[in-house]
Symmetry: C2
Subunit: 233 residues, 2 copies
């Protein structure tokens, strides 16, 4: 039966040949039907992955924040017609923090086989590199952008880290990351731990874990970087 393959792509402008396993590359090169977050970047990813067909000849449908829910089952049409389909997000692993999970769920409802492939995830790389441990952990996406909600959420995460003995992970966009690290370094107990993973698997990668007080005055290190933060106690 036709299969929905979940195909990771690099986390930035590096060669897919060095950061994706052969199995992942082989599936991406074999397919000619794709559902992607944005067609333009997907074409660039597929070209960089060495897809053997003219990229313009591939059937590429978009699934993103603009896609109405009613359109999602239609994206399964090629699968029902017997064609394997590859799902790609803008960066990293699809169907994690992007709208692709709705397609995966629709496939499960129709008993279409789903195969996740191996590749880079900034969340997982940040967790490994943090030293905070992942026996138990939680990922929260973005924190609220404004005070007092942001400070409240930070204190809530510190409480959860202590209560559940669980690493608390979240992300921040480049233009807000230094301000968030400032807020964390100030709002957390001085001995709580803050880990930073930025530009993971890319040139300019930054990986550092310190106490909250150890970060005070050093928060410029993450300025203009996409950061995965971790909190542990």
């Amino acid at each position: 039966m036709a299969t929905l393959y979940l195909i990771p792509v690099p986390l930035g402008p590096v060669s897919p040949d060095t950061c994706l396993p052969l199995d992942t590359l082989a599936v991406a090169r074999r397919l000619d039907h794709f559902v992607v977050e944005r067609a333009k970047t997907a074409r660039a990813h597929l070209k960089a992955m060495g897809h053997p067909l003219p990229i313009q000849s591939l059937q590429i449908e978009e699934l993103n924040e603009h896609t109405p829910a009613a359109a999602i089952p239609l994206l399964l049409a090629p699968l029902k017609a017997g064609h394997d389909v590859g799902l790609l997000s803008e960066a990293g692993c699809p169907a994690v923090a992007d709208p692709g999970s709705a397609l995966v769920m629709a496939a499960h409802r129709e008993n279409i086989p789903v195969v996740p492939l191996i590749g880079p995830s900034s969340i997982l790389l940040a967790l490994m590199a943090s030293g905070l441990g992942g026996q138990r952990f939680a990922f929260h996406g973005y924190l609220p952008a404004r005070e007092p909600e942001r400070g409240q959420k930070i204190r809530e995460l510190e409480k959860a880290a202590r209560r559940d003995r669980a690493t608390q992970l979240f992300i921040e966009t480049p233009y807000r990351s230094a301000a968030l690290l400032d807020a964390l370094a100030t709002a957390l107990s001085p001995d709580s731990t803050i880990s930073v993973g930025a530009d993971l698997s890319l040139p300019g990668q930054l990986v550092q874990t310190r106490s909250a007080k150890g970060w005070r005055g050093c928060t410029d290190a993450v300025r203009d970087k996409l950061v995965v933060f971790g909190i542990g106690v």
Copy 2:
């Protein structure tokens, strides 16, 4: 400066050449100092990864549940002497659900650079394949083995999934996985969603997402498989 590399290994008996990126394989083959969860399996992994040196000539130290905390800083000695060190767990990504994170934290304390490499994670593959979405998610390790604690925890996770709109992930050993799926199918609201990811990236891989009531009577599918479960509402 010498660097601590976090080196993923395959999730089971498959070739590292097809499931690990070239960058990861290249680092593993270049190093001659390793800290590993169990020396015997690490030697087998390094051999399968095509390490060019006689495996017996590599310096391999163990870090596992028997290692006293006081011994961990000693494992940094090769790094302080200028040798890069590779950290390996039994399967998948190191320093997530294994004692390796203590070494990563010790390295951060000494300002030793830490570089996480790309490879397979059963938690992440299960999350991708679940269709439940990872905008927010939590991983809980193992649930309590006995009732009434297990049932209590299941209901608590369902509540957290609803309250936080977050996918709840946990694992179970092969000999208990069918019993846990039975308990989930019974204890959860009939329309809550249960995803199952077993033997991920291996032959015999099982990926399936259904409602709690859809799983009733079908829980034998996961018998004797190591399963990552997901709950969504």
